[in-house]
């Protein structure tokens, strides 16, 4: 069965420090991997995705993610965190059908 795991409920980072939000997946076949961000009372905003090609994917707002096939991971990263990055982050995978399968989300808190 296809699944996504986000092992951390919450990640705390000081402003200006690098951040990592972890995601691992389990799918049959080629994975199509996504990161979305959700601000309070707002919908999910697309950040980036991995389809094929380079393992390092660059996305919106300075975020990037590294696809690692051997570790079945797709961790979200940013070199220097901003207070405004504080939000809920979701990893999702789309396998052999049409739907997105989501992780439980990671709350990112950036402290000034």
């Amino acid at each position: 069965a296809q699944s996504v795991a986000q092992p951390e409920d919450q990640v705390n980072v000081a402003e200006g420090n690098p951040l990592t939000v972890k995601c691992t997946y389990s799918v049959s076949g080629n994975p199509y991997l996504f990161w979305y961000v959700q601000y309070p009372n707002r919908g999910l905003q697309f950040l980036l995705k991995y389809i094929t090609g380079d393992n390092l994917v660059k996305g919106s707002y300075g975020f990037e993610a590294e696809f690692n096939k051997s570790q079945t991971s797709f961790h979200l990263k940013k070199p220097s965190a901003l207070v405004s990055d504080s939000a809920l982050y979701f990893c999702a995978v789309r396998g052999g059908n049409y739907q997105l399968i989501w992780g439980a989300g990671t709350k990112l808190i950036i402290k000034p």
Partner: protein, 116 residues
């Protein structure tokens, strides 16, 4: 351009009432998805349309849930005889075409349903 819009943004219903949630996808988008997001959890897939055809409704939790997209644009998710466990945020997403598995889904702001 305009994104995905949903209405109402908030809905309070008494247990047993019927509700209808509307989604206006991005103009020209072929695919439309409904998801349910319970508090503190990731979204769960409900159903998928390609134009007016409902190709997958495997995620609908019971026969009280019904979705339609009669003209291949606006979609309505209807919940009959609402129960307290139906309380959640209902998210609508659309994508440009179909069959491309890496295609990005764009989400609306959601409808927060509270059943009392």
């Amino acid at each position: 351009g305009a994104g995905v819009s949903q209405s109402p943004r908030y809905k309070v219903a008494k247990r047993g009432q019927d509700v209808a949630l509307r989604c206006d996808p991005i103009s020209g988008h072929v695919s439309l998805f409904w998801y349910q997001q319970a508090l503190g959890q990731g979204p769960e897939f409900l159903t998928y349309f390609q134009n007016e055809a409902q190709l997958d409704k495997s995620g609908l939790p019971s026969d009280r849930f019904f979705a339609e997209r009669p003209e291949g644009s606006v979609s309505t998710l209807k919940i009959q005889r609402t129960q307290q466990e139906d309380s959640a945020v209902y998210l609508c997403a659309s994508s440009l075409s179909s069959g491309r598995q890496g295609e990005t889904q764009y989400f609306g702001p959601g409808t927060r349903l509270l059943v009392l």
